[in-house]
């Protein structure tokens, strides 16, 4: 534990690379981070549940490294980034910056941290006060951190504006006089003005298009190299992450499912969710537009994530029970049937026909790609009963039948991170040596 007094020491040796000890440890360490939000109900705001926005996330970032965090909306990547900056109080775990716990900082040490870790947000249009000139806006952090000398501030700002590809004269213009790309350059200038060690860039280019996006990324890359800044780069754009990041963590419903060097993770993805993400990006070849399909389309509610592996309800590679003998396509059809019923997202054709009492066995099988008989007798019997229950309108019985018939290790056990290759970890039962299932091959 390092108290606030230690802050001034840290202040003294903040020159990057001069302290051998700090050079050895990662700049940022995130360990078992939890950010849970209570769901309250009624007048007394009784806690009835928790949204586990970030649940047990660990990663670290080296000095000068660009670390990507990818995932869909609701995966918790922005919440994780905000906790890194101390903008969001974690409910568990720890964030250490230069060896010190961020949540225990106060006073001078906290101010120092706020100077050393900066945020660049997605929408540059909302990042500036319309009544301040850009010079004032970029210099504002300097004022807040106690630089009194206006001439010096002005000199720093002018230098930075030129560095980000604008001119010194732009300091006297107002935000509305700039385009989106120029504003994003200005927010990078503002982030740089305090000479930070870490920039957290939350979708910094997704509000920009084409060549402007590429300009801003080139700028970020330049400043990173020039000042040896670490960047935590949050993005949903795989192309951008591939070009820009050294390592990447893939998040799903608050958890990191795969983490490793960029070329390993994006060229040879191991986790089925990473494979789904990559397989959902349209190819640049107009004649090749096959998308990877999840097992079911329903995205689970983060307030009530699935048990075991959180991805199992959508996972195309879900592990079959050891005693079930089915060809892969049949197994997939059966589990897809099961989890579609479980999510209550019945196809409209079936839901409508149930009301009329016209549904028959063949319609259900056809809709779910289930053959008339399945090769495994026990599964076949269970699916028969489930289909009868669906026809009778008794979905609960159908669900119960199926979960008895095709249980899976993926819903029963929480997978642990396994070192798949050097520095490449995967959180999936197929990579767990105690589970009898091999990783499936993958090809984009």
């Amino acid at each position: 534990m390092i108290g606030p007094e230690a802050g001034s020491d840290e202040e003294a040796n903040r020159e990057r690379g001069t302290d051998p000890e700090s050079a050895a440890s990662p700049l940022l360490e995130v360990e078992d981070l939890d950010v849970h939000y209570p769901i309250t109900k009624g007048l007394l705001r009784r806690e009835v549940g928790r949204v586990r926005a970030v649940d047990g996330v660990s990663f670290d970032i080296e000095r000068g490294e660009t670390f990507g965090l990818v995932g869909e909306s609701g995966s918790g990547k922005t919440t994780a980034a905000h906790s890194v900056l101390g903008l969001e109080e974690p409910t568990g775990g720890e964030v250490r910056f230069d060896g010190q716990s961020v949540n225990e900082l106060s006073g001078a040490a906290l101010r120092a941290f706020r100077r050393r870790a900066q945020l660049v947000v997605q929408d540059p249009n909302e990042a500036f006060n319309p009544r301040l000139t850009m010079g004032e806006a970029v210099a504002e952090p300097l004022v807040l951190h106690g630089m009194e000398d206006a001439d010096r501030r002005r000199a720093i700002v002018e230098d930075l504006l030129e560095r980000v590809g604008l001119s010194a004269a732009d300091a006297d213009r107002y935000p509305h006089e700039f385009s989106g790309g120029e504003k994003q350059r200005l927010s990078i200038a503002r982030a740089l003005v305090l000479n930070p060690d870490l920039i957290v860039a939350d979708e910094p280019t997704s509000a920009l298009d084409g060549r402007v996006q590429s300009d801003v990324l080139a700028l970020l890359d330049d400043v990173r190299r020039e000042f040896n800044i670490s960047i935590l780069f949050i993005s949903h754009d795989i192309d951008v992450v591939r070009r820009f990041c050294d390592r990447v963590a893939v998040m799903y419903l608050g958890e990191v499912v795969e983490l490793g060097p960029i070329e390993n993770v994006l060229e040879f993805p191991a986790h089925p969710y990473t494979r789904l993400l990559l397989g959902s990006v349209p190819s640049l070849d107009p004649t090749d537009q096959q998308f990877e399909r999840p097992l079911t389309d329903t995205v689970p509610d983060p307030a009530d994530p699935p048990s075991g592996c959180r991805f199992h309800t959508r996972c195309s590679e879900i592990v079959p029970p050891e005693d079930v003998e089915l060809p892969w396509e049949q197994w997939r059809a059966v589990v897809a049937f099961r989890f579609t019923l479980q999510a209550g997202e019945l196809p409209e054709s079936i839901a409508v026909e149930t009301a009329d009492g016209k549904l028959d066995d063949a319609t259900v099988r056809d809709r779910f790609d289930l053959p008339a008989t399945l090769q495994d007798d026990a599964v076949d019997a269970g699916v028969d009963q489930a289909i009868s229950a669906v026809i009778a309108g008794d979905l609960q019985t159908a669900r119960d039948r199926l979960s008895e018939t095709v249980p899976t290790v993926c819903e029963q056990r929480v997978p642990t991170a396994t070192e798949h290759e050097a520095a490449h970890s995967v959180c999936c039962h197929r990579y767990d040596s105690t589970v009898e299932a091999e990783p499936r091959s993958w090809e984009r």
Binding site: E72, G210, R211, L217, A218, V281, L284, D301
Partner: protein, 355 residues
């Protein structure tokens, strides 16, 4: 000098059935206190039935103003449509009255916007908004309308659609709101969907479903005019592509032609930057875009004196290809396009194995 009609596409389209939408010489100006912006400056294109046409270009290139001018939803003033004709299924839209346009919007031509908030009413449940969108144009029982709402919300990837239909827009995430806006735009089964960056705000797995959804709509005969800056979305959706710069179309091509042999220097620069690392470093030098001649000449490595106009360069076919034409003097009768085509060979071809 100027040819207002694009000889390669228009002639070909006319030989078959009349296109659903024909836009000729569209010019829209935006007057501000200080200046007049030539937002759309002589744009010609067609959209066939069942066809998807993508408009690509960066912000400020006039893509959105072009699309908003078609049904008159561009705010006038400050904008003013000063010239051109827009013919949709035999009707001239620029001459139509506001009440005629109102009937066409929604039932025949639907818009989906970049920002779903602008399309959704914050004080109505999303289900009610969908039902309202259908019942304006169609006789349908409330129960059937509600059922269709659930089905469509599910189709665009809203989880627990049947339970969430009575929720308000603010109870959904940004991505989900966009999906709802698309579902509502499609409520009355329009002939033409004008989609302005429809998938920009959604996740890739949802985008894949939306692309499949949009592909399915054109199979059913609907036409789509889609604005996007994402070349992957273009590859997945478009039959033909129009590239805009500075209020003008600079290149038109089939999707495959565009991705394998981008021919206008601007298109080449755009494709070169798709992955966030452009090879050309002179980015900060972008200045004012000229309002005559070739709008790209100030940034173009191949600019010569005749690029200054005064008219936009005549469209010329690329390598005698059908459907592929550029507005560039080097492709004209006196020009030599080889240095420009060589440029692309030096950049990486992004569509594997075609070049």
């Amino acid at each position: 000098m100027t040819t207002e009609h694009d000889s390669t596409t228009t002639a070909d389209d006319r030989s078959e059935a009349t296109p659903l939408l024909t836009v000729e010489n569209l010019r829209t100006r935006i007057r501000t206190e200080r200046e007049t912006i030539y937002a759309v400056d002589g744009v010609n294109f067609t959209v066939d039935r069942g066809e998807t046409v993508c408009l690509v270009g960066e912000s400020g290139s006039g893509k959105s103003v072009t699309c908003e001018s078609l049904t008159g939803i561009v705010p006038q003033p400050p904008a003013e449509i000063v010239d051109g004709t827009v013919e949709f299924d035999g009707r001239r839209l620029l001459e139509a009255t506001e009440s005629e346009l109102r009937t066409i919007r929604g039932s025949r031509i639907a818009h989906v916007f970049q920002n779903p908030q602008s399309a959704l009413d914050p004080v109505c449940t999303v289900g009610d908004q969908f039902v309202e969108a259908i019942t304006i144009h169609e006789e349908i029982s409330p129960a059937a309308a509600r059922e269709r709402a659930i089905e469509r919300f599910r189709a665009v990837g809203i989880p627990r659609a049947s339970a969430r239909i009575d929720d308000y827009p603010h109870e959904f995430s940004g991505g989900q709101r966009q999906r709802i806006a698309i579902a509502i735009a499609l409520a009355a089964d329009p002939d033409l969907l004008i989609a302005d960056e429809p998938t920009t705000a959604v996740d890739v797995t949802v985008q894949a479903r939306l692309i499949e959804l949009l592909q399915g709509l054109t199979d059913g005969g609907m036409s789509i005019l889609c604005i996007t800056h994402d070349l992957r979305v273009v590859a997945a959706l478009a039959d033909r592509v129009l590239v805009m710069f500075g209020g003008t179309i600079v290149e038109r091509a089939t999707t495959e032609q565009l991705l394998t042999q981008p021919s206008h220097p601007y298109t080449q620069a755009l494709l070169d930057s798709y992955d966030g690392l452009s090879r050309r470093a002179d980015r900060s030098a972008r200045g004012e875009i000229p309002t005559d001649g070739c709008r790209f000449r100030a940034e173009c490595p191949h600019a010569v004196d005749v690029c200054a106009g005064p008219d936009q360069p005549t469209f010329a076919a690329v390598a005698d290809r059908e459907h592929h034409a550029v507005s560039c003097v080097h492709f004209g009768p006196e020009g030599d396009p080889e240095p420009i085509l060589d440029d692309w060979r030096e950049m990486r071809p992004i569509s594997g194995g075609q070049q």
